[in-house]
């Protein structure tokens, strides 16, 4: 296994009416890059281009010292895990794995040993004679990973392998993949449209939209400081408001939205006085508390009226009205002596450090 990093350099692909625009990125050995994007963003096209199934229009792909763009797919040594795993339905588990062995090993003792080791490592020994259709989702994943490992890949690509699975199973399988990748120590790209999956898997995150990489960075960065309103809403930032820059402060600004003035703490504040902006905050970053009179407007504290409380997995989603329409998450236990029923008044705080200004 060579341990070079993957570098895409201003990659362009044209495919029918669809285009990938100037994708540049790099992934280090042992790093997992998650590409997050809605259906049709070009996620699969990007992976298949790296794997050699689409002609480059411009740009380059390098893996360590290798110029991948010159090689056929079978020469690139890429472990590609497809949606639903794409196991060979006419071969059993062992045959699926043996297919991936190099020609020189396949029919020799070395190959048999290697296949057996892989079966053992992925806990598949007892399933060796099963056909893919008789495997569970988790077992299929292990076969797909074992098969990909048999080629000793220098790069892993994952194309939404969990698309057809239940939420519960997904998360367990994500964790399994993460452990295996960390162990393999090669670069990996994982594409998904599921923000939860992205969070669980990503060392770094890129957001793909209409064939362009519109933001990349670490997970916290993208999720709490999305570059624009599209990303904000795609990563579940339910509270997005239009406003204008009211005053610029040394370490932030005051934004006017409706009747409210919101204090923002943000380094490198790059907007102009009076400029229209969007302002966003994640529901889980909003603090709710019992009503008191200590709040004052400039610390982003108000009284708000509860409009509805709905269960939301382990949380409750609370919709509030306070001039702005606000959505917040709280744990189930009625903490802090609050009375969470529609119509009740509570104190809310939008911490200045979690408020984020975007285009």
């Amino acid at each position: 296994m060579s341990k070079g990093s993957l570098v895409l350099d201003a990659l362009q692909v044209k495919l029918g009416g669809f285009k990938l625009h100037d994708i540049s990125l790099s992934v280090e050995p042992g790093e997992i890059l998650v590409i997050l994007g809605p259906n049709g963003a070009g996620k699969s096209v990007l992976l298949e281009t790296i794997a050699g199934f689409h002609r480059l229009h411009q740009g380059g792909i390098r893996l360590g010292d290798l110029n991948l763009a010159q090689l056929a797919p079978e020469q690139r040594h890429i472990g590609f895990v497809f949606q639903s795993y794409a196991l060979f339905p006419h071969l059993d588990v062992l045959q699926n794995i043996r297919f991936a062995l190099p020609d020189s090993e396949r029919s020799r003792k070395q190959g048999v040993d290697k296949a057996n080791l892989l079966l053992e490592r992925f806990a598949l020994t007892s399933l060796a004679k099963r056909r893919p259709q008789d495997l569970s989702g988790g077992e299929k994943q292990r076969v797909a990973l074992a098969r990909a490992m048999a080629t000793e890949p220098s790069l892993f690509l994952f194309d939404e392998p969990f698309a057809a699975m239940d939420a519960q199973i997904r998360l367990n399988l994500s964790e399994e993949i993460r452990l295996m990748l960390k162990d393999a120590g090669v670069p990996a790209i994982f594409v998904t449209h599921d923000q939860l999956e992205a969070q669980v898997l990503a060392d770094r995150l890129g957001v793909l939209h209409n064939g362009s990489l519109i933001q990349s960075g670490n997970v916290t960065e993208v999720f709490s400081r999305p570059a624009n309103a599209f990303i904000a809403s795609f990563v579940g930032m339910e509270n997005i408001y239009e406003g204008t820059v009211h005053q610029i402060l040394p370490d932030g600004a005051i934004i006017k939205t409706g009747d409210c003035h919101l204090l923002i703490k943000q380094q490198n504040f790059s907007f102009l006085l009076g400029e229209p902006v969007n302002i966003a905050i994640r529901p889980e970053d909003i603090t709710l508390g019992a009503c008191s009179n200590s709040g004052h407007r400039m610390s982003n504290e108000w009284e708000a009226t509860i409009r509805s409380v709905t269960p939301f997995g382990p949380l409750h989603k609370v919709r509030l009205e306070a001039g702005l329409s606000i959505c917040a998450y709280v744990f189930k236990q009625g903490e802090n002596g609050m009375n969470l029923i529609p119509g009740a008044r509570v104190k809310i705080r939008l911490p200045a450090e979690f408020l984020h200004v975007l285009k």
């Binding site: 298949e48 794997a51 050699g52 199934f53 056929a72 797919p73 079978e74 690139r76 040594h77 890429i78 472990g79 590609f80 497809f82 949606q83 639903s84 794409a86 196991l87 060979f88 339905p89 006419h90 297919f99 991936a100 190099p102 020609d103 098969r147 990909a148 048999a150 080629t151």
Partner: protein
């Protein structure tokens, strides 16, 4: 019952109409069977030219089906995988033999593949093979009329292969030929057999073009016509029954025993 309560008048009426149609197919076959005496069947069965015609038909149809697979499967694969303007036209060309009257096929083949034809003449000159009144001519006719069945059945098979399976095989280090032989072919095997069976059946049933290009050596359908013209219904209907039983046997054999259910319908469900 498939999830819907089927006790309505609609199903009653439709079953009656459908039953009528099934009866329309079955009655002539039973009529043919009950019209014979064991003696007449025996008499026809031992006629050497009848035996020769049957063997010739089976041989020619089998060879035709093999040639059709060899030529048709590659075409089906590229039609299934390639995308380019004009693809629709190539697809339409494949279906043309389905639409041409059989005697027109015979005339057209005779012009091009006859002794003086643009292809027939050089072939005769260089190889000594004549398509006029010959085994090669019979195969030629059968191939022309049945090639759409081979290509379309294989095409359905290739279309239904998940492209990701071929792609993953490539990433695992297999070149295009190895992927085609080890992965794609096994996955479309049943469709190819469906095509083989349909091609075999269509080849054995052909009459109109053969009767023009290669009346002799007589195939079974031609021999039946010959018997009918010479002796009326008696011998020809006995031979018809023999052929009917033979073709149904092959049909059922392919459909249920050799290649599993539905293998012969050509319309995969």
């Amino acid at each position: 019952m498939k999830n819907v309560t089927h006790s309505s008048t609609l199903f009653l009426v439709f079953w009656l109409v459908g039953g009528l149609l099934l009866a329309f197919i079955l009655v002539p076959l039973f009529g043919l069977a009950t019209n014979q005496t064991p003696e007449s069947i025996h008499r026809v069965m031992v006629m050497s030219d009848v035996q020769k015609a049957i063997i010739l038909t089976l041989e020619a149809a089998f060879i035709t089906s093999l040639i059709a697979q060899l030529l048709g499967v590659p075409l089906a694969y590229v039609l299934s995988r390639a995308r380019f303007p004009g693809l629709k036209i190539l697809e339409a060309i494949v279906d043309i033999p389905l639409t041409i009257p059989h005697t027109v096929v015979g005339i057209a083949l005779l012009i091009s593949f006859g002794r003086n034809g643009v292809i027939g003449a050089p072939v005769l000159h260089w190889t000594g093979i004549s398509f006029w009144s010959s085994f090669a001519g019979v195969v030629l006719c059968m191939l022309f009329v049945s090639i759409p069945y081979t290509v379309n059945a294989a095409r359905i098979g290739f279309d239904n292969v998940d492209l990701r399976i071929e792609k993953v095989a490539r990433t695992l280090g297999a070149g295009p030929w190895r992927v085609f032989i080890r992965i794609t072919l096994p996955l479309v095997w049943r469709s190819l057999m469906t095509g083989f069976n349909l091609t075999l059946a269509r080849s054995m049933s052909e009459f109109g073009s053969i009767v023009i290009l290669a009346y002799y050596p007589e195939t079974a359908p031609v021999k039946i016509y010959d018997l009918f013209l010479q002796f009326g219904l008696s011998d020809s209907s006995a031979m018809s029954l023999i052929i009917l039983v033979l073709t149904l046997f092959i049909f059922i054999f392919f459909r249920y025993f050799l290649f599993g259910r539905n293998a012969s319908s050509g319309f995969e469900r």
